[in-house]
Subunit: 173 residues, 2 copies
């Protein structure tokens, strides 16, 4: 199957948003998607972009049954480790089901790794759900360490009212 | 105990680096610290800062036995969720042992939460080690959800030669 991986533009935000929603449905968390295509345009393609994104395009004659030619994406941004400096965090990597098994996911991941190396990042990190075995197997096969399993790292989150109350606590100084 | 929480400046980088190292020793991973005070100056206080940092200062008469008046820090940066948009990630929160139990950690955490709210972030996230019960209890008491426990999120990492080989794979497109 022919495909091209390229940097996303503002015009891709509707497609990226559509696939963000598909991925959230797969992850059984569709109700958590609160952003819109317009948010993506503003946040990723304005003055100070908060993320970067690659998309995968197939030729018109191979378009999806719904008529889409943008069939995958990898959305990432830069983070900072106080041990190793700048890192890449891969927030989402997604390929539409019909287009899987053609090396598209591998190609996206490899391109993100190339960008990480270009930017002198010592690490490429991502998160995966425990029950998502196909995904975890894919990353493990590519050489990823599972830091939750090997070092015991847990992800913690404040949001909603717990974030509000934290912010409202009397802060000294 | 009197203390002040303020935004870090370039001049604080030696102190921040000293405490990064102390924290890594506590986390039993001191050999993983590869950065220098100069890296922090460049990465946090240049044209496009990769992180922001708060520091805690005590009055001269309460300085540490080693003569330090900067006795804690919180280092954070902005990330992006394709579900909720911009987020704050708290990379490190540290208070020197002698100065604990005075509300300094709570004050730092609250200030970071205030910054998150100012920047319209829906989430404040961080990572904690499984065996680090004092730390996990502190965050749980403040209302943090443990997403690894409740939703099964695992942290994965490519680095060293696994990152190199990923980047070297033939990428199509």
């Amino acid at each position: 199957m022919d495909f091209t991986v390229r940097a996303a533009t503002k015009e891709d935000c509707k497609d990226i948003w559509r696939m963000i929603t598909e991925l959230a449905v797969y992850e059984k968390m569709a109700d958590q998607v609160k952003i819109s295509p317009e948010d993506l345009e503003r946040d990723g393609f304005g003055q100070n972009p908060l993320f970067e994104c690659l998309v995968v395009e197939v030729p018109e004659e191979q378009k999806s049954t719904d008529g889409f030619i943008v069939v995958g994406y990898a959305l990432y941004f830069y983070t900072y480790s106080t041990w190793t400096g700048v890192c890449v965090h891969l927030e989402d990597l997604y390929v539409m089901p019909h287009f899987r098994g053609n090396g598209i996911g591998k190609s996206l991941l490899s391109k993100v790794a190339q960008i990480a190396k270009q930017k002198q990042c010592a690490r490429l990190q991502l998160c995966a759900l425990e029950w998502n075995t196909p995904s975890r197997d894919f990353y493990a096969y590519k050489g990823a360490q599972d830091l939750t399993a090997t070092e015991g790292w847990h992800m913690l989150r404040f949001d909603g009212h717990t974030l509000d109350s934290l912010a409202q606590e009397d802060a000294k100084g």
